[in-house]
């Protein structure tokens, strides 16, 4: 049956209503990317002032416009955020103190315009460091401790230039230092720090969002969500074979992405900023029913982490991309299913029950969109072990020409069996067990792992 005045059937209307009201369909984030390269002045202080003023001017209406779209269209928009040009590029030639000034300017601007996170305290060091990169990296622990909303990311490798193991070595130490500085909050600073291989320039999701040097002056990027919607679609079809199931997921991803495209276009028009991309990621939250792990289990796995988990995730990830790519002209970002631990109730449970280990998580990152994400590890983990985890994950990204990342939290004073609690979207996580044998000598070699050959790919 269809309405005479309106070419949509009642079933479709009820489906949409249900997706939003009971299946947690939301737009996870509207992220405004802002190029701040023109804010460079001769001193750190003057540059910080320019950065602050530009962000406030550009993003002044972001939260208001987002809230209005939410009200008018009845689609929840959870986060409004900002990403800026990697600060190391703007601050090259400045010292650590100057970098801190730039970081605090970002924090203050985020607070002023009312966004919850601002990304871009970042450096791209996949082939080597500039002096600015080194100064920025040194400033990370303090900025993540004292700055409330600043997020940081470092790109330490890519398929074309290999892996900068000097940076990997250094980032192990920086993560430890950040955890210790924010030890009173379970190492919260590390939840705002991502180490990437093959970082993308238009990712709207924190903590890894930055406005890449190839991006226009300003853009609006949308991060969609909706694990709950896909979960319900999968649950409805226990009889289908996997080809059929992939089709169902594609159809669902299409609908979710269309919603993102609508919100993105409206936001872009109202803010007078070009529409960038829709990131097709399924981003879970700690809320029940908003879990990627639950989707994998609904596909037929007894518990996430068991044999078959990687295959199930590969199917899910690819089907989401196929459906989404049909729905939007501009797809980008990280696009796929996120498998963070602390932010996904099903993943937390799988770690607790001993089904999901760090090794299986690493294997699953070969087919998911990001990498080892929001994983709490023992507080006494040595820096070189963290570096080795980063190196492994970067190698997966480098060889497979995909983005991978590590966001890991060595929770001070905690050990296997303990929990970290961050609250809100960042969630809570049990400390996961790591391998006890030392990779120290390997990590201490430093240098650069050469880029892989692109022919003879297997």
């Amino acid at each position: 049956m269809s309405f005479a005045t309106f070419s949509i059937t009642k079933d479709e209307i009820l489906e949409t209503v249900n997706m939003i009201s009971t299946e947690n369909l939301d737009i996870r984030t509207i992220t405004m990317g802002i190029n701040i390269q023109d804010s460079r002045r001769e001193t750190g202080e003057k540059t910080a002032k320019q950065i602050y003023e530009k962000i406030v001017r550009q993003a002044n209406d972001l939260v208001k416009v987002g809230d209005n779209i939410e009200k008018e269209y009845g689609i929840p928009i959870i986060n409004k955020r900002i990403s800026v040009t990697p600060v190391a590029l703007i601050g090259n030639g400045f010292n650590k103190d100057d970098m801190l000034k730039l970081g605090f300017a970002l924090d203050k601007a985020a607070q002023e315009v009312g966004v919850n996170f601002i990304g871009g305290f970042s450096a791209l060091v996949h082939k080597g460091f500039t002096n600015g990169d080194l100064a920025l990296i040194d400033a990370i622990p303090q900025i993540l401790d004292e700055g409330e909303r600043v997020c940081s990311s470092i790109n330490i490798g890519n398929t074309k230039s290999g892996i900068n193991m000097d940076a990997v070595y250094r980032m192990g130490k920086i993560i430890k230092e950040t955890a210790e500085q924010t030890g009173d909050r379970d190492g919260l600073g590390c939840a705002k720090l991502v180490v990437f291989c093959n970082a993308v320039e238009d990712n709207p999701f924190m903590a890894g969002a930055f406005h890449g040097p190839g991006e226009p002056e300003s853009t609006i990027n949308i991060g969609i969500s909706g694990p709950g919607v896909v979960l319900n679609a999968v649950k409805k079809h226990p009889e289908l074979d996997l080809g059929g199931l992939a089709n169902i997921i594609k159809n669902t991803a299409f609908k979710i992405t269309r919603t993102g495209e609508l919100v993105g276009r409206v936001a872009s028009e109202r803010l007078g900023v070009p529409f960038g991309i829709v990131d097709l990621s399924l981003a879970p939250t700690p809320a029940i029913g908003d879990s990627v792990a639950d989707i994998l289990e609904a596909m037929g796995l007894g518990k996430v982490g068991t044999h078959g988990s990687t295959a199930a995730l590969a199917l899910l990830n690819d089907a989401v991309k196929k459906g989404g790519a049909m729905a939007s002209s501009y797809v980008g970002g990280l696009s796929g299913a996120f498998i963070p631990v602390s932010e996904d109730a099903g993943m937390i449970d799988a770690v607790l029950q001993g089904s999901l280990t760090i090794d299986k998580l690493e294997a699953m990152t070969c087919v998911c969109s990001v990498g080892l994400d929001m994983i709490a590890i023992p507080g006494d983990t040595p820096a070189h072990t963290i570096s080795a985890i980063i190196a492994d994950e970067a190698a997966i990204g480098m060889i497979n020409r995909k983005t991978t990342a590590v966001r890991i939290i060595p929770a001070p004073g905690k050990n296997v069996g303990d929990w970290v609690e961050f609250g809100g979207l960042l969630g809570r996580a049990p400390i996961i067990k790591l391998n006890d044998f030392s990779p120290e000598k390997f990590i201490n070699r430093q240098g650069r792992i050469p880029a892989p050959i692109q022919a003879l790919n297997n």
Binding site: F3, T5, F6, I13, K71, Y73
Partner: protein
């Protein structure tokens, strides 16, 4: 983006006397015209979908949503209000 004037109102809950009367009164009071209405009992649930035109209304979508949500609470119904573009975008290319 073309500013559409149509909203879709959906009502779900247990069937009882006066649901349509009460909701259409709210709409009439606010100069909102009902263009189409469809109503069925789906798996024991009362299900109604309305297409309405708000071009002459003085209240905005958010306000209408609040009024109807309150009305829904009184009658133990779940009432949602959404812009037509959401449906058009989601289901049609």
């Amino acid at each position: 983006m073309q500013e559409g004037n149509k909203l879709i109102i959906s009502v779900l809950g247990h069937d009882k006397v006066g649901i349509i009367a009460k909701i259409s009164t709210v709409l009439a009071d606010n100069q909102i015209n009902i263009l189409d209405i469809s109503q069925t009992i789906l798996q024991g649930f009362f299900t109604m979908v309305m297409v309405v035109d708000v071009s002459n209304s003085k209240i905005d979508v958010a306000e209408l949503r609040n009024i109807l949500r309150e009305k829904g609470k009184e009658m133990n119904l779940e009432i949602t209000v959404q812009h037509e573009d959401v449906f058009k975008f989601m289901h049609r290319i």
